[in-house]
């Protein structure tokens, strides 16, 4: 663990969000440190996706302060969050099926070569960089293959490789293991380990208890818009987390 690093990557203080009369989030404090994998758990409607959307810049919080690497940040759009180094792997992966793996990795930030006034895509450089990223993630994915023809695990690798383009310092993954096979779950958890090894903080939003306990250092449980628990993984158990999620146990 790298708590020796003085500043957390992400620090939330008193974050609250109201949609009209509905209080989606209330007074959430949370810290994420470099190289740490934090599991964010909670039932549907517990507020975890609202929290993720606030961090990713989709929503602005009604209350509270968000600090990224020590600096106060205010995001108006997802692009702002990306600019400081927050990347999100969406549940449906946000991939264009009809494009190649490399094209998807570089979507929206293509590498170009200038010829006078015209800028043309640098296919070679993009394929080479994508292959390098897939190598780092140890995924057997060819940059030129179409995403349509790929397995769920390869698709995950493409979506995760995208976050490695910029030097992301926090990667949030929304249900990355929800819709894929057992072998592919292994691959994805492996990918999370790779990110962690490289000092990237990962927030894993998941319903799957075994996955959270397999890779996370810490687990945060949300219930009814509030943070109910924030514990190192070895000090808790799946039973306790389940009780916290369902409300059988109020807080820990």
């Amino acid at each position: 663990m790298t708590k020796a690093d003085a500043t957390p990557v992400l620090e939330l203080t008193g974050i609250g969000k109201e949609f009209g009369a509905i209080r989606a989030l209330h007074d959430v404090d949370m810290q994420v440190w470099p190289g740490e994998v934090v599991g964010l758990m909670g039932d549907n409607g517990a507020g975890k996706s609202t929290l993720v959307k606030i961090i990713a810049g989709n929503f602005r919080p009604t209350h509270g302060e968000m600090r990224f690497a020590g600096n106060a940040v205010h995001f108006n759009r997802p692009v702002d969050a990306r600019a400081v180094g927050i990347e999100v792997v969406y549940q449906d992966l946000a991939l264009a099926d009809n494009l190649s793996a490399a094209a998807n990795v570089f979507l929206g930030r293509e590498l170009k070569r200038r010829f006078g006034p015209i800028a043309l895509l640098d296919h070679k450089a993009m394929a080479a960089r994508a292959l390098e990223l897939f190598g780092e993630l140890r995924s057997e994915t060819r940059p030129d293959d179409l995403v349509r023809q790929m397995s769920g695990g390869q698709r995950q690798a493409v979506a995760i490789a995208r976050t490695r383009l910029s030097n992301a310092r926090l990667v949030m993954m929304d249900e990355p293991t929800a819709a894929i096979s057992v072998r592919q779950v292994e691959q994805v958890l492996g990918l999370i380990h790779r990110l962690k090894e490289q000092g990237v903080a990962v927030m894993l939003i998941s319903h799957r208890m075994p996955d959270v306990f397999a890779v996370c250092d810490r687990v945060v449980v949300m219930r009814r818009g509030e943070k109910r628990a924030d514990k190192p993984i070895h000090q808790t158990s799946p039973e306790e987390v389940t009780a916290l999620i369902t409300g059988a146990k109020e807080a820990a």
């Binding site: 999100v88 009809n98 094209a103 979507l107 060819r142 995208r162 490289q198």
Partner: protein, 356 residues
């Protein structure tokens, strides 16, 4: 940041896709191209006139008359949209071009100043009137395209409904400005106009030359610029395009503008060949144009298409039409046959994608 790799990726579990299962060989465009080649061979044996120089020129000219608009509509189709207003747009642009040309050349027009020699000032610069009138024709197309794009991308209206409305609006405006009479290119620059639109260079029809240049440009734009990549991404997964920071609204507006400009240019070229821009010109051409794009492999669901497909679709339609004429089959059969081919082309692609 880069990790030392313990071993390079081995690809033990991931097979390589064979060359004949990827790229053009695995696309509808490839199959239709093959069908076209077969058809050409059959035509060669069926009629000695088919490969004669005159007939080839005819075919090249005729398919060029819808192919430029097909290139434009292919952009829109790749993004998953549709543009039904191309036929009306062709007519309106052509009409505005010839009206402006006539108006600027007319000595009595209040819009122009007379020079000392009795001609209009503009007419004393060769080609200037032509340039202004073509720009005027393309200008109205640009405005219509912007309007389409604004309604679809910013207001979120359905492309089908928006462009269906535009089909009617533009056709109606055409009747309004011309009073239903149609217009003729006139004035001192009319000869340049005819030379540029229906002339030929060393036996190659001018529209065909424009088509080749535009198709090559389109291929480069689609496959080698980030705009092209964004066009494909938009058709593949619009939400993903948005999440990855692609300027979705701008790209959408741009494709509708490109489509309208292509249709406008097409209309101007057709009017040069016809020698006039009648108010009912290019009626229902949008169906031919969309049919050609779809036969050539553009997928109406978005994400697939290209200039080669657009041209192949147009050539196929024209060769069939031409072939039916040479075979002395009633030309009324053409339309029915086109319908059969549309369904067949899409069907073959479906069967193929089921098999792999």
């Amino acid at each position: 940041m880069a990790m030392p790799m313990e071993s390079p990726i081995s690809f033990t579990n991931v097979g390589k896709i064979r060359w004949w299962q990827r790229g053009i060989f695995a696309s509808q465009t490839g199959y239709v191209l093959l069908a076209l080649a077969v058809l050409l061979v059959i035509m060669h044996f069926a009629s000695p006139y088919f490969f004669s120089q005159g007939n080839m020129q005819n075919v090249a000219k005729n398919f060029s008359f819808i192919a430029i608009a097909t290139l434009g509509v292919t952009f829109v189709i790749i993004t998953g949209g549709i543009d039904l207003s191309v036929g009306s747009m062709m007519c309106f642009s052509a009409m505005i071009t010839s009206m402006v040309m006539t108006e600027l050349s007319a000595p009595g027009s209040p819009l122009v100043h007379m020079a000392a020699d009795g001609k209009t000032v503009l007419a004393n610069v060769p080609g200037l009137i032509l340039l202004i009138s073509i720009l005027a024709g393309l200008g109205v197309a640009l405005i219509a395209g912007l309007f389409n794009g604004f309604c679809i991308a910013v207001l979120g209206l359905s492309p089908f409904v928006t462009t269906l409305g535009m089909l009617s609006i533009v056709r109606g405006l055409g009747y309004v400005v011309s009073n239903g009479r149609g217009s003729f290119p006139g004035g001192p620059d009319a000869d340049y106009f005819y030379a540029l639109t229906s002339g030929d260079v060393l036996g190659v029809p001018a529209p065909f030359i424009y088509l080749v240049i535009l198709a090559l440009t389109m291929a480069v734009i689609l496959h080698h610029t980030s705009f092209g990549r964004h066009v494909f991404a938009l058709g593949g997964n619009e939400k993903a395009a948005e999440l990855t920071g692609i300027p979705v609204v701008r790209v959408k507006i741009e494709v509708y503008v490109i489509c309208a400009l292509a249709a406008g240019l097409q209309g101007i070229i057709i009017s040069g060949w016809l020698g006039s821009a009648p108010a009912n010109m290019a009626t229902s051409y949008e169906l031919n144009v969309i049919a050609a794009a779809v036969i050539g492999g553009a997928n109406l669901a978005g994400g697939i298409g290209g200039p080669l497909g657009a041209i192949v679709g147009c050539v196929l339609l024209e060769v069939i039409r031409n072939g039916l004429v040479l075979a002395q089959v009633s030309s009324y059969w053409q339309q029915a046959l086109v319908g059969v081919i549309i369904i067949l082309a899409v069907l073959v692609d479906r069967v193929r994608s089921r098999m792999t």
